[in-house]
Symmetry: none
Subunit: 215 residues, 2 copies
Amino acid sequence: MAQTSEKPVTIIADSNEPPALLSRLRLIPGVHVELRELFAGDFIVGDGVAVERKSAQDFVNSIMDRRLFAQVAKMKGEFETVVLLVEGDISKSASDIAPVALTGALSWLAVIEKVSLISAGGGLGETAGALHRMAIHCQHGLGYEVPLRAGKPKELHTARQFFLEGLPGVGPGLARRLLAHFGTPSAVFSASEKELREVDGVGPGTAKKILEVLG
Amino acid sequence: MAQTSEKPVTIIADSNEPPALLSRLRLIPGVHVELRELFAGDFIVGDGVAVERKSAQDFVNSIMDRRLFAQVAKMKGEFETVVLLVEGDISKSASDIAPVALTGALSWLAVIEKVSLISAGGGLGETAGALHRMAIHCQHGLGYEVPLRAGKPKELHTARQFFLEGLPGVGPGLARRLLAHFGTPSAVFSASEKELREVDGVGPGTAKKILEVLG
DNA sequence: ACTTCCGATCCTTGA
DNA sequence: TCAAGGATCGGAAGT
């Protein structure tokens, strides 16, 4: 089972969405599309997560005639999370709007309404793909975890140094000095706060944080 | 509506931000820039609202080398609202990443992390303008002058898991199980090979490598 | 982010 | 009961 994408997801779509997009969605294995009359938004991709689909041109127009404000407010009233999926290049359609009005709208969306804007390049495939991915994330989570520490060395000494760099306040330099002073990571971990502070670059704050993380 | 805004706002900037951008900000009437060492993020434009500034290229790169996830996790730990301000055209820099990975990243930001992404076109002026607008929205858009202060510190548990991921053969999953089994990193480090192997996913090979690095 | 790959681990079989 | 097989999971590397 190599496929990430065969997990079953349900996407609720407003009945007014273009048939071409709907069938494009249904082509994706594992996707179940359900039609409904939605009061606000075009798609529901997860619990409390609504998506409004807009062409770049329509997005810009809706800023100018202030439709956007009302639409978003309505959606925010009904859903916890709202995503604006914009198809096409906004800057191409931005010629007929004051730049400040555009940045103003973007800022307002981000900072006041907490609405995310995803830009998706014109094709149906991209739109469908984005909806699918959002549905998966909402309904199944990532499906794996992202390793926070990439690029582990394999040679013993560098592996030890790298490992110690995971401690709060410890970078490459301090890691090396700790190793030089104590010999092994084990010895570092059994050191008292006082002993830790003997190492150059370890103050009270760092020592305390280290001990806290160690437990 | 007369002036766009001469209302006074304060923007806290990380001291590592380029001087050119900082002075560009200070040129804007009503903007007060305050320098600080920020633990996470590049700017604070309102109470609990942090902004991370990235070039489009850097954005794409940081997806590939996983830097972005660590950064966002850190910021979400400290601030309630996080905005990613991307300078330049992402699609231009997207050549060396699988398209599906890019949409995946955008979806992840929007739907899982609830982080807004604002695209701002390369110039300093645009970046400064966007920061200004966000500051105005935060500080005057709803309510009054706000005490600019960051929220809760990073979770202890996350720091511990991150730390354990530095061990060879230990990724997110195993790090979590180790913590669940032993309670603290300290307890893990004083375990014998036998005890280590009680944890699901730790066989002879992994146990040996772990003990070797610990010393 | 996603995918592919590889190795270690675990589980079932069958002697 | 234990050894050998294959299925499975999780980590590492690359796009």
